[in-house]
């Protein structure tokens, strides 16, 4: 029984490794000068969009353009260029489009501030309605004291 379970688990593990290797993203044999460089370069390449496949970043895509750009990013980082310079290199060729996180500027204000504006608008409406409701509740309570007696009197008088 135990052996059977072991076999079963082994088969699952084997198939899992096979599947994961089939879906692995392209691995480059680029050798970085340091681990920090590698970390920074990979992070940068993750934040840049492949201009050809459009829904993949430079790491996930295996199109030739993405491969070239990925290597370009690696080399620039290893050459000591900072993030801004790499991003400038990419946007001067492929436009703002390659940035997954667009820069804050006049034409992207709607993009950045739109959700905040909508949230504020929603909160404002919510606030407005709640306050209105409270006021009407208070109105009802205020009626209950002397006014109620008077009202009752009036109503009784009407009955007669």
């Amino acid at each position: 029984m135990n052996k059977l379970i072991f076999k079963f688990v082994g088969m699952i593990l084997l198939s899992m490794t096979l599947i994961s290797s089939a879906f692995a993203t392209p691995v480059d044999t680029y050798e970085f000068k340091s681990v920090e460089n590698q970390k920074r370069a990979l992070e940068l390449a993750h934040s840049l969009r492949c201009p050809q496949c459009q829904n993949q970043n430079l790491i996930d895509s295996n199109s030739p353009v993405a491969q070239d750009l990925r290597l370009e990013v690696y080399e620039m980082v290893d050459a000591g260029k900072d993030d801004e310079e790499v991003i400038e290199f990419m946007t001067s060729r492929y436009g703002e489009f390659v940035l997954y996180k667009p820069r804050m500027e006049a034409k992207t204000y709607v993009l950045w501030l739109g959700p905040v504006a909508l949230l504020l608008f929603g909160l404002l409406i919510g606030f407005f309605f709640i306050r209105k409701q409270r006021i009407s509740e208070v109105d009802e309570q205020e009626l209950s004291a002397e006014e109620q007696k008077e009202l009752d009197k009036l109503l009784k008088r009407d009955d007669k």
């Binding site: 750009l69 370009e72 060729r93």
Partner: protein, 185 residues
Amino acid sequence: MKKRLVLFIPLVLFLVMGVFLYKGLFLNPQNLDSALEGKPIPAFQLERLEDRGDLITNESLKGHVSLLNVWATWCPSCKYEHPYLMRLARQNILPIYGINYRDERAMAIRELNRQGDPYTANIFDHDGRLGLDLGVYGAPESYLVDHNGIIRYRYAGPIDQRVWNETLFPMIEELQAAAKLDGAS
């Protein structure tokens, strides 16, 4: 009455956003603005496809309005575009420079011998470096360059009669008129 109108604000917002998003559905994601429009052609120095000894540089492209066409033998849309480029070449409107992009030299030459060569000259961009500097992400792509060597327009995809009539030719006429005023050929 005014309070009633306030109640319609969410509906109006919804409609505005709806129209905005609906329009987005029909945008072509391949139609990206080129970041290079209005900028000079990137500096390069590359061999001619047919002749290793003959170097073409970005300076060679100055002095006349020209069309740069990025092509390769591995690109099916380039084959589709080819007969139209041949027609354009016969009309002699402007020089068409080919950028042979990430291709094998022998294969590219054979292809031109077989199918005809619409190009004034072919720039052999074997490792795709010029393509990278131009912001090419696929072939075919065409760049309209004015007589000062400034990129005026980028078109991604195969050129056909419609693109030519509606977009490229009117721009070329305008650029050529401007070049004449400047005294260039």
